[in-house]
Amino acid sequence: MNTRETVKRLLEGRAKAGPDLRTHLSDLDGSTLPDKMRRSYLWIVNNAILCPTYDISFGNRRSFKNSAGDTIELTDSMSFSSFILLPMLTLFTCRRALLVGGPGRGKTSSAVLMALLSGMPLDAVRRSIQRGHPQLTIADLLGVPLPSDMMKAEKLSDIEVAWRGWITERVKIIDEYNRIPTKTQSALLSLMAEGYAEMFDQYVYAGRSSWFLTANDDAGGGTFQVIEALKDRIDIVIRAVPFNTGFLETLLERIEKDRSPEEQVPSDIVFTPDELATIHAEILDVKIPADVLGRLSTFLGSLDFCRMASTVFELKNKDTLRLSGHTVSGVCDERCPLDKNVHLCSQTENGVSVRVYQTVLHFAKALAYFRGLFEVSIDDVAQILPWVLHDKLVPNPRSPFFLGKGKDVLLYDRVAWIREMFSSAMSRHASHEPIRKKVQELAGDLNRGLEGLDLKTVENRMAKTASLLDSLLTKNELSGSVYEEIILLKSIHSRYQNYAQWLRQKSS
């Protein structure tokens, strides 16, 4: 290209002079939806929620430490504030978040901003917030049967229920949910868990939506104890952060302008229903590489195992203890030969449910998508885990791990505890990886299908499976992750065995 061509290209663009002697600008080529998500995040950080804590970070870390052992890390890539980013990811994944923290920390404001991003007008958002209080009835929450119908009705279906408008909104906000009476909580549970509510044989459906619940205290310190099932339906816990006095000037400016940030949300960061649906679908399309899945299973798989729970191999898990009214702290002692400072099973009273696995994967995809990536990295998983597992994992305070120097603090800082557990699991992952690969190879063979396999091949594979199982059991320490592999091997063997049985019957 020569100078003239270069200059010609430099002067061409979206600005054109019109016949009216004005200069007209055409629209920029559409920026991507992740761009828009990041723009929304930045607007909230810069204009709405004064949040100095950047606790979701990526890239290489540099630590600074004082003589007392206090450490802070700087990274060389993007960092985000969980208090703003996680509600956004909840909005885009249509999941359920609990915002916890002291009064006036911006929990409700954050939820309101999410509703505004979803395109709800401010007035509608304010009207739709359900505020928990001890007298909140099911009728207050869900709606009432029309009085005229009540007088005339001959059967239940004749009664029309006036459902409350908030139920069908894209974003649902329940303020101070731990002040809601237990009976009303149950009604809320069916709406959150199943997506519908029932009254007088009539149903209302919540539709695809994101839930934001707030509480001043997540340890059950509200007016009413939160029912376990409702707690279990919460996908992620977001901790509010204290105000930093460095922002006092901004606060002063806000008072002087007499306008709240909620009233000033620019329209270019508001998402249309179509955009929200596209984002939801594109997040689900983000790939999770096999290595990341393997690492995640090394970590989560080792939590549920308890060698002391039963003599039956398949029942060596924490559910066995729980169902019999026992705890890990009661059985995790010197009778178990595993090193309690190394093996994660000693640190928790419970494992995690399938729902938790799904939530971690979904949020990790959303985080990768937000960062503009096409596949999830292990960093995405590591950053998401503490918030998803926050209320799901119960620590075993009598574990020798927590008796170690400086470890007792991890009993009340769950984010730090889960991060440390994950990092410990990752350091052991490399040594476990060769075992996992062998098991995955056998699982891969089975997953390709049994159709067309002859008896000899099946018997060969069964022999291979049994041999690996034997080798794992006899030559390895029975840790949580080895236990998971052995259970998987047994299931592979059982499926081959059933198929072989069928082949034998067919041929006889």
């Binding site: 200059v7 061409e12 600005a15 600008l25 503009g372």
Partner: protein
Amino acid sequence: MVASEEFVRASVEKAHGLRLDYSARHSGFSGELFDRFLTGPLPALLDGLDPADLPLVESYLSLVAEGIRLGLLPGPLRDGERPRSFAQLVFSRLVPLLLPKLPRRKQADALAKLWNLSENLSSSPRYLESALSHGLAGLEALDNLEADLEKETSRVLFPRLCPLGTHPRAVWLDLSVEDTRFLPGQVHFLNPVIACIHDRARGPAGTHSEKGGGRGSSTRFHGGTVSVWMADPPVILGPSGCVEDPGPPKLQGGPHWRLLAIKDPRFTEILDTAATEWRGLATLVTSQWVVLLLPEKEKPA
């Protein structure tokens, strides 16, 4: 000529409408930055126009608002300040001072071209934007914008160069003028006449990628590098935004440096060098100055 009160009022009203509209619609827009254009460059533009030119003023204000939203305009240019973007030069100086001198029928077209140029340069290599901002800062008229631009572009991208020969000229350049803490480290060429010098203390620049920041943020994180236009006289172009790893220190153009070490006592232990047939550059272990090798005589482009 001083703009009439009515014209100023009408223009300011348009500006306020635009400010409200942009504040409501665009997250990247800053009303505060926009206001700074209303008190600096706008009055200068109005002084050169008459009330019939209100559509042109509106166009100017719209482009300023759009420039702020996209992060092209970090505020109006102050006296003595080097432009941080070509758009800053255009909307602080070139348009307010030179656009009124054009015939009315050419004004909107020139404004459109200047916008396009600013926007295109913002996504071009940073050294090109800096070099053209430097070269066109002294423009006195917009009548021959294309020709002036061709001349400057040619000097940067397609320079006519003479070989260094056996007796090149050594020119010393103090980079502490750019940044008092800058410690010249590894060097490499960005094009035949523009070199990039990395700060040896600060590590690679630009690790905070634009992708992560999103379009609206337009964050340009470019500490840690300085580009130098090895023209005669040389020009420090400011941060280069280079994210390349320059690799380990190397010795290029050895004979020239050996000769210089004999002739000039200031030329002490070399840290890194870069040299081609036409230009050479060296950084020293104990100095904030860099040494440039230029041909004895070079015909201007």
